[in-house]
């Protein structure tokens, strides 16, 4: 089914807006068969939008999609599949309750309009698909019992089986170990040899250089660089991705004193996730924590808040030792924790600004009989509105009346209202657009200036450099390196990370 005819897929002058925000402005890109094309760019640069347009999920506002000789103003998902365009999403779109074999073979049956299915031919189809990409997986297992790396290979096998000519892979290496990445690259080279065009989306520069032969870099919805991979140096790619200006504008506040330690963590261990983690955070200090997926960074953040069970170690706040494994104690000691996605999903949009502001820790405003006196609440609301410079005429207005950036401020105010000594923010800007990201970082800076300490868990390197005083890198559950303020730079951090 797989055709070896060379294919040329290009898009020209694609424009796409969501609501008022422009996601892509006049983007052009071209890929040919037998090519591994890198689509690079930071979070929010428009990579996902471009993939979705090229695979028929979104229709562009304007622009031309050209597949071999055919021209489209927009594609439907079905058309895309018919033309041999396949996307491997980060969630792989596999059915956990069916066997690997069925996951691979089922689309083939549907494609051929079969009404019946039998085990033997299912196994045969699946095995052939796996042979085609040169991997060996137990296909009789249900997908729910298969590792992430193998799931990905199953998704690739399924795509190749469907006569893929153009394969998009959205951040395929995020959840993989180095060994698994090597296996993935072998497979990508296999399908490249068969004439398939692959678009590899990533922001990990070393991987891009290893596997891709052409590159397009997106920043803020525009193409800022494209060409042959060998014409770009690591530095050029990273500069294109981040934009020089972002790198230089650090907004880290001045540290008054590093002597007054607010939080002291020593020898914290939760075998096998992480072990012997020690660090301290001073008043007003912003400490960055980074690491790859599965390195233990999230678990560490949760452990400090008492949400993740640890075996041993010590956490003290303001010199007082904290009982381990108790979120209640952590809260009482003044540790706040904001999990990822809370900043983007933490609002009751139809409710008033005031109600949103008091939503966290509402018990604190309780008076006799459990009542919430209006006057007290109004005071609290007014204070946060002026403190965080939320632009509104009336706190009783619904949150939807605010601009995006101001909504972000409301979310943060909500969490800051508990007045923690240490605020743990886990991925505070995941999925946030460039403008709001800036807003969030500025609010963090302002709070830090007034003495609040931060533990910022993030895999967004430029963001860490922008705001943190120090950054520690977690690798396989251990602190692999600590970067002091003067040592912070993007390429070293990337290098340490991978």
């Amino acid at each position: 089914m797989v055709s070896t005819k060379t294919l040329n897929y290009s898009v020209e002058n694609i424009v796409k807006s969501f609501g008022g925000a422009k996601a892509l402005s006049s983007v052009s890109m071209s890929v040919s068969g037998g090519e591994v094309h890198c689509l690079a760019g930071e979070n929010g640069s428009g990579k996902s939008t471009l993939i979705k347009i090229m695979s028929g999920v979104h229709a562009p506002d304007s622009g031309i999609i050209r597949l071999v000789e055919k021209e489209f103003s927009s594609l439907s998902p079905r058309q895309a599949v018919q033309e041999g365009v396949q996307v491997i999403f980060q969630d792989f779109s596999l059915l956990p309750n069916l066997t690997a074999a069925e996951n691979i073979a089922l689309p083939t049956y549907i494609y051929e309009n079969s009404r019946y299915i039998n085990k033997k031919s299912t196994m045969k189809i699946a095995q052939e698909a796996l042979d085609l990409i040169g991997v060996d997986i137990d296909i009789t297992l249900p997908v729910s019992e298969i590792s992430i790396a193998s799931k990905q290979l199953i998704a690739i096998a399924r795509a190749t089986n469907l006569g893929v000519k153009m394969l998009f892979m959205d951040e395929p290496t995020t959840a993989l170990t180095r060994k698994e990445i090597n296996r993935l690259f072998t497979v990508i080279n296999q399908i490249r040899a068969r004439g398939v065009a692959t678009v590899f989306v990533s922001h990990k520069i070393d991987e891009i250089q290893e596997i891709c032969n052409t590159i397009t870099v997106l920043r803020n919805g525009s193409v800022v660089a494209d060409g042959l991979m060998k014409d770009f140096s690591t530095k050029q790619i990273s500069e294109a991705m981040t934009g020089q200006d972002v790198l230089t504008t650090r907004i880290t506040p001045e540290l008054k004193s590093i002597k007054q330690k607010v939080v002291q963590v020593s020898n914290l261990s939760a075998i096998p996730t992480f072990s012997n983690i020690s660090f301290s955070i001073a008043a007003g200090e912003i400490l960055g924590v980074t690491g790859l997926l599965g390195s233990g960074r999230t678990e560490l953040a949760e452990a400090i808040f008492g949400k993740y069970q640890v075996d041993s170690g010590e956490i003290s706040v303001d010199g007082l030792k904290l009982p381990l494994n108790s979120s209640k104690a952590a809260l009482a000691a003044g540790i706040g924790y904001v999990p990822p996605d809370r900043l983007t999903q933490g609002l009751f949009l139809e409710q008033s600004i005031l109600r949103n502001l008091i939503a966290v820790g509402i018990d604190r405003y309780k008076k006799g009989w459990g009542l919430l006196p209006r006057k007290n609440l109004a005071q609290v609301g007014d204070r946060w509105i002026s403190d965080l410079k939320i632009k509104t005429k009336n706190p009783a207005n619904p949150v939807t009346s605010l601009s995006g950036g101001n909504q972000q401020r409301v979310v943060l105010a909500k969490w800051f209202a508990t007045n923690p000594h240490l605020m743990i923010l886990n991925g505070p800007t995941v999925g946030v657009d460039v403008g709001s990201k800036r807003e969030i970082l500025e609010i963090i800076r302002d709070r830090a200036q007034s003495g609040m300490s931060f533990l910022l868990v993030s895999d967004d390197i430029p963001e860490l450099i922008q705001i943190c005083h120090r950054v520690i890198v977690i690798k396989n559950g251990k602190i692999s390196k600590e970067f002091s303020e003067s040592e912070l730079n993007e390429s070293d951090l990337y290098k340490e990370l991978n």
């Binding site: 779109s93 059915l95 309750n97 069916l98 590792s147 096998p272 599965g294």
Partner: protein, 339 residues
């Protein structure tokens, strides 16, 4: 398949439960291990198994149907009423059965419209239609008990495949329905495992978005499922009327507990995606065995319903525990692989 995996299967657990239960009752009352008792259990299982097969399909697809008993009695009762009103061939068995299946499928079609067309959650949709169907039946079709059902249906209630007098002098009978019910059971199993439609049902239960991306039409699959369940329920309803030799529009309501409990005990996941026909057969047999024989243990019949309720909760608890263990196993497996 290795032994450990086999032991973890729901069906295996259920077989053990059935054996243990049999031994306990059998030791208390020798009546239990008689052919007569076995045939009685089978006879009381036929209708329930047909309902259960429909429910199994719905549950695998990630939905739930609570309207099937009403659909069943609606179809059965209406078929009888139509037979009399239009003076159709009293002797015929095929006519009322066909009528009931068609009526059931039409009612299932309304469920399909509510669920696939309007996207109403399955529990709410079928709860609502159950009320509507029942009201329509009682106000427009009839609310009175019919004791003289058509001769064909009446005679069928005593159509026995095997009939002999036991040593104790009691009449031992096995109803001929055992054959068609077995055929339908196998057919449903083949449908689920050997057809693209069947696999789509499993896919739907595994996740709606991935299923859609496979190119399977969610709405069409759902519509087929609910109409099929309606048809099966209609068949079960008319057979119930025949076996009871009366058509009572107030019957069957409330029997959803037994059926859903049987399907869940049989290993179908209430979250969708998992379930087997074999498990459902065992579940139905177990529930009926228990209901028929708790009396032999000296448990009053008013406790039967409670016992079934306990089994349902127990079945779901076992599933939940199994699910937890499974995810733990997976985590350790994934960690090992990483190393």
């Amino acid at each position: 398949m290795n032994i450990r995996k086999l032991l973890r299967r729901n069906e295996t657990v259920l077989i053990f439960a059935i054996i243990i239960f049999s031994l306990v009752i059998g030791s208390k009352s020798p009546e239990f291990f008689t052919t007569a008792n076995l045939f009685d259990i089978l006879r009381s299982s036929f209708v329930q198994l047909l309902f259960a097969l429909g429910v199994l399909i719905v549950i695998i697809s990630g939905g739930i149907d609570v309207s099937f008993p009403i659909v069943g009695i609606f179809a059965g009762y209406t078929a009888v009423v139509m037979m009399r009103k239009f003076q159709l061939n009293e002797e015929s068995l095929l006519i009322p059965i066909t009528l009931a299946i068609i009526i059931g499928a039409i009612l299932g079609g309304f469920n399909a419209i509510a669920i696939a067309g309007f996207g109403i959650p399955t529990l709410i949709a079928t709860l609502g239609t159950a009320g509507i169907f029942r009201g329509l039946m009682l106000s427009f079709i009839g609310a009175s008990f019919i004791s003289d059902i058509p001769v064909g249906l009446d005679n069928f209630s005593t159509a026995d495949l095997i009939k002999f007098e036991s040593d104790a002098g009691t009449l031992v009978r096995l109803h001929v329905l055992v054959i068609p019910v077995a055929v339908i059971t196998i057919a449903v199993s083949l449908l689920l495992n050997r057809t693209i439609f069947g696999r789509s049902v499993y896919a739907l239960g595994g996740g709606i978005e991935p299923t859609r991306r496979l190119g399977i039409s969610i709405k069409r699959t759902q519509a087929k499922i609910y109409m099929l369940v309606g048809g099966l329920s209609g068949l079960a309803g008319i057979l119930y009327v025949s076996l009871q030799r009366k058509a009572n529009p107030y019957d069957l309501a409330g029997s959803e507990l037994d059926v859903i409990a049987a399907v869940v005990l049989g290993g179908a996941s209430i979250m969708g995606g998992y379930g087997t026909v074999f498990g459902t057969v065992l579940g139905v047999l177990f529930i009926n065995m228990m209901k028929n024989n708790l009396v032999l243990l000296g448990v009053s019949s008013s406790w039967q319903r409670a016992a079934v309720g306990v089994l349902l909760v127990l079945g779901i608890t076992i599933q939940a525990i199994g699910e937890n263990r499974k995810s733990k196993r997976q985590k350790t497996a994934a960690n090992k692989e990483k190393e």
